[in-house]
Symmetry: C2
Subunit: 341 residues, 2 copies
């Protein structure tokens, strides 16, 4: 089958990989309908993480082709959305709502690679959710977004306890930050302040529900947030970058007793000053998003056309042109790239 391979930092090729096959009775093989490029794929692309002829991709929607003997909830022909983390759905951690930390978890990006024609999905029952039927083509981008970027933004908004009466600050105007705006809006937040100094992303943020834009960063950004929140800071803050600067920005933007949902992937060497966190007296919760927990609800909202997260994709390319997609995201000329298969 055809598949995207990152040969080395900055070098994307589309070549041949062996077709996947059922290895365990809990596996499913799916034919990928659409996949995409994640901000986290840029880390190896930029040489920040090691890469060596690595199959890429962890976001996916598609049609089940074959299932192992023990798979109960999906059948060949079903259209499915899956999480970017494989989860068994049965362990104590899955049952507590954290499938992304399942004791049998596996990152799809590390071993499977869904920027390809097909993929083997282990623990299919615990990882995939089928849609109510075959989706209209215009729903595909939104369903694909649910696989990671929407699910991650949703988790961040949930962890930040965005809701009625709350003021929410979103640090980071990438795809996850924008989905955080959408999620905060859906969860009923009263005011949503997007921190962005990029006109195109500001426009998208407003479309998704932002009520205010703050262009300043650092101390000036924090001062602006205080101004907008009666001197107290926001009730809820979504951190969707993962650097020391953005984490501090989040801490400084949050009121005492407030909640920060942090989903920007923090890399080795990034640290949080413990005294700043201590004296800010905020709640901090984040990590790899437990997308599978939210999928049934997100699919429902998309199916009923109450949300349209697929608008976050501003460039669509065929799988064969994946290299151009990586380049566009690296240069920030595209927010997020969808690859059709």
């Amino acid at each position: 089958m055809r598949a995207v391979i990152m040969d080395a930092p900055g070098r994307i090729t589309v070549g041949e990989r062996e077709d996947p096959r059922i290895l365990k009775p809990t596996d499913a093989i799916i034919r990928i309908t659409a996949t995409c490029i994640c901000g986290s794929d840029l880390w190896p692309y930029r040489g920040v993480e090691p890469v060596d002829r690595t199959p890429m991709g962890h976001e996916y929607v598609g049609v089940v082709e074959e299932v192992g003997d023990e798979v109960k909830t999906v059948r060949p022909g079903d259209f499915v959305v899956g999480s970017f983390v494989i989860s068994c759905g049965e362990c104590e951690i899955c049952e507590s709502g954290y499938p992304s930390k399942c004791v049998n978890s596996e990152f799809v990006s590390a071993t499977i690679g869904t920027q390809a024609e097909r993929a083997r999905i282990p623990h299919a029952d615990g990882t995939l959710v089928k849609t109510p039927g075959r989706p209209d083509p215009d729903l595909i981008p939104s369903l694909l977004a649910a696989s990671d970027v929407l699910g991650t933004g949703w988790f961040a908004a949930d962890a930040a306890q965005a809701g009625p009466g709350k003021t929410v600050v979103v640090v980071g105007d990438g795809a996850v930050g924008l989905m955080g705006v959408l999620a905060a809006k859906q969860l009923g937040a009263e005011r949503i302040i997007a921190m962005s100094h990029h006109p195109e992303r500001q426009r998208l943020a407003r479309e998704f529900g932002a009520t205010d834009i703050v262009e300043e960063r650092g101390s000036e950004g924090a001062a602006r947030i205080r101004e907008l929140t009666g001197g107290l800071g926001a009730h809820s803050v979504i951190e969707a970058v993962g650097t020391e600067e953005s984490l501090l920005q989040a801490i400084r933007s949050c009121r005492a007793g407030g909640h920060i949902g942090f989903v920007g992937v923090a890399h080795r060497g990034v640290t949080i000053p413990a005294d700043r966190l201590f004296f800010a007296e905020v709640h901090l919760h984040g990590g790899p998003a437990p997308v599978r927990r939210y999928l049934p609800e997100l699919i429902r909202l998309i199916w009923e056309r109450r949300i349209e997260p697929g608008r976050v994709f501003d460039l669509t390319l065929p799988l064969e042109e994946a290299a151009a997609g990586y380049e566009a995201m690296d240069r920030r000329t595209a927010v997020k790239v969808l690859l059709t298969v």
Copy 2:
């Protein structure tokens, strides 16, 4: 009046200070009955924080002598317990349950100093809580503990969501950690694992409700906690030290989706590795404890003799012998020292 002064690191004297007087209509003057030495008083004592002829002390119980015209809830003659942070009780932050971050907050240690015969307590209505009557002498140590060390341990257990069915790990066997054990027990935790390698403190921890003791630290300590929790880590972790090692110990001891309450005062330069926190996927909440929020409940439990946190004091000295008390705590020959006035 007589008062404890820290002249310089390691140098404690008891000398004369001017008697406090009402400065604002919301002030109260209290005659101190008992005060104590806090683990945080050891930071300047050890030269980690600057000190220069500083009045010391922020924990206190006593009798109201005089009140300003606007004070409504306490009267001369009332026996009161106060928080170690002054709070107005009326701002949005106080009302949300975070009096320790009140917009009018003031640390008692910074400006007032309760290791003395008398103290002026600003915002008396928002800071002090009167007891149901004049306490029996044997209740004094427990009421004094509520002023900070019990309130702080209680906040940690609450932030860690200790409760029925939960396994709680307590990192730190100082007075706050021991109070965290007591609080976890009161909140109904099923299993309480105290990390300590000091036999005397292990004994106290067991008295306060610890069901297990782990003597190992670092990787071995984390492995032992995993062994005791089915490989998953604890639901709740109390961090009561404030160093990088103890924060990491807490993160490594907590299961995904679990809660860490951190109350060890983190000093400048202490950092949390953001990637470790991210991939652990825990909840983290802490800071200066909002003791005032808990005082009515804690006073009730003490008054009804359902808890006896005063047992945490293992050395009682008159105010005049404060220097010996500091020395005992610095050398860890005493867990916590009560000073009678």
